[in-house]
Symmetry: C2
């Protein structure tokens, strides 16, 4: 990024309006990254974006709630490729989302006037629901590793979704924002690791979680050429409605995919995974059911003593001064569950889990 | 920007999700800038944005046209605050735009299904139309210094528009993207230099032209608190639909407003104004009518020998290998006119004007 800043100050290397889909140097880097997971992409299938997601406010609000002990929960509607992609779909398309779900999937569709159907994710299916043949849908949202549950689909399970999409002529919108947390080579980091996915899936990723790009802002969206008109329509949409990501930011993103960048990121992710392990071990010790935390930064736990989500929020706040995310905010099936995050410091995580153990150890 | 890049690499100075309206350091800088022109703003009236305008494609397309000698002209629709602001207005509001006009004003409104009325800008009123008491409008677009004509309203003329807005309870959307080209202290750089404008006007500006931010991407929008609900609605819109401008970019924008930044920019603008003078002098020498070029980067000329805009485009391209922008692309009243730009190198501008003189000198 330092080099890019310098380039912008010299006439011969200055860059003005850039390609809206992103510079080729970054698209090449993304292509190379996918290649490592045995996914072949064309440059024309890769779109660089600046506004992948918006959940910082959620976090800010929870922090503020901890201050105010307020219990009103308002989720943000997002301006993002995940929302923008809906420009390409008819209003009478039916949308299928898992419950619990990252609320932006729901809100953007409700705002557009679409019918939303829910598929139950719960303890029984370990929060990894599989398609129901009796349900017809045109647009299917899948997030794996999942936010909020941290659950991860394996290849066989994702294949069922791809087959279902083919049968229903549906499109899967696959959110892979947490793919970098997957360390088991048998688990898919991209839906395109599944045969046939290039005919039915669009994939969204961000560098926010991968490389701390929350304040730097860069992500990417994959729209396969096999999707025909959808790829062309997305090109048209982006070139007319989007100005592109700042050049300097794209150079920063490029560095993320370099050998050195990947090494540094791996260290960072290992740090958070260590936190996740501290949390998981504590929950195991306390005999509390949970999912996630292994290939995901999130740990999704069943509230102890049959507490409801918000009851547990208050209890944890008042008795241990720990703040987490009530599962009820993610949908009906989130009630009675709670999300803990590994995105903290090692010291704070250890201290929080010490207090947690004091409260709940059998 | 170098300092900001370093900060992002250190835990204690790292910045994650930032305030969507922009960091206070930059809002303070914008406030200080307006103060220099005797305009007092509150921080809450200043919104930092990343997507002010989109016309790079226009330029790219003209360049490409020059290659292909194609004459089809397609203007881009913009994704920008100038378009986004329309989210706050009812669909049945009537929009008033001058003709010729920067096409984005028209397209975004037509896309939203609004009725658009035109007010004639032409040689008679020196492309500075004044309000017509018989026309009712709810939303009024004014761009001064103007794109494409380079014409600049004086304070008395702008006051007429402000009075008209008050009388009609209309809102003026004031595009001040080229304000930095104004060197006459009596000419308004901001509509808020006009008494009463804070009750009826929203102002849009960008650093694209001011400081070469086309590839760095940063601008700002002023929504006065006197506009009551509009300010609150814009806060709500931005905090829910916009993620904010990258921190590093905002630090770059802050530097634009520093003493050193202002000095460097002044040198840059003086360079372009020298080009504008070369063009203006040539046109005067050739006896060709024109406006702009003094407090604007653009020169708007009447095509010689009664040529139509595209006829002149072809003539200039074929006989002198000079490329400009046909006025007809900006509306009915643009026919027979042509836009030249000072955003080139001194050498190219001189060479182009040498060739121009050879063709048209009486």
């Amino acid at each position: 990024m330092h080099k890019a800043v310098d380039e912008m100050g010299i006439q011969s290397t200055f860059r003005g309006y850039g390609p809206e889909q992103g510079y080729d140097f970054l698209r090449e880097a993304v292509k190379g990254y996918y290649k490592k997971h045995n996914v072949d992409l064309e440059l024309d299938e890769i779109f660089i974006s600046g506004e992948y997601e918006k959940n910082g406010d959620g976090t800010k609000r929870y922090r503020r709630m901890a201050e105010l002990k307020s219990v009103e929960l308002v989720f943000e509607r997002a301006k993002s490729d995940l929302g923008n992609i809906l420009d390409l779909f008819a209003k009478d398309n039916t949308v299928l989302v898992p419950d619990p779900v990252y609320p932006v999937y729901v809100d953007t569709n409700i705002m557009a006037g679409r019918e939303v159907q829910f598929i139950d994710a719960n303890g029984e299916n370990e929060f990894l629901p599989l398609p129901d043949k009796n349900v017809k849908a045109d647009i299917i949202y899948i997030c794996s590793p999942n936010n909020p549950t941290g659950a991860v689909y394996n290849k066989e399970q994702l294949k069922e979704w791809v087959d279902y999409a083919h049968k229903n002529k549906a499109i899967i919108l696959f959110d892979s924002a947490y793919e970098c947390f997957i360390s088991d080579k048998n688990l898919p980091r991209s839906i395109y690791e599944i045969e046939g996915a290039k005919d039915c899936a669009i994939e969204f990723c961000s560098l926010s979680k991968t490389a701390g790009f929350t304040g730097t802002r860069c992500g990417y969206t994959i729209v396969p050429e096999n999707l025909g008109n959808l790829n062309k329509m997305w090109v048209r949409r982006q070139t007319t409605k989007f100005n592109g990501v700042p050049y300097i930011v794209q150079r920063g993103a490029e560095a993320v995919f370099s050998e050195e960048g990947q090494k540094e990121i791996a260290e960072n992710i290992a740090y958070y995974k260590e936190n996740a392990k501290v949390i998981s071990d504590t929950l195991t010790e306390c005999g509390i059911w949970f999912t996630g935390g292994k290939h995901s930064p999130y740990i999704w736990l069943r509230c102890p003593n049959n507490m409801k989500s918000w009851e547990f929020f208050d209890y944890l706040l008042n008795n241990a001064q720990i703040v987490g995310t009530p599962g009820a905010g993610f949908g009906r099936n989130g009630e009675g569950y709670f999300r803990l995050t590994s995105f903290g410091s090692k010291e704070n995580t250890k201290e929080a889990m010490k207090r947690f153990k004091n409260l709940f150890k059998a």
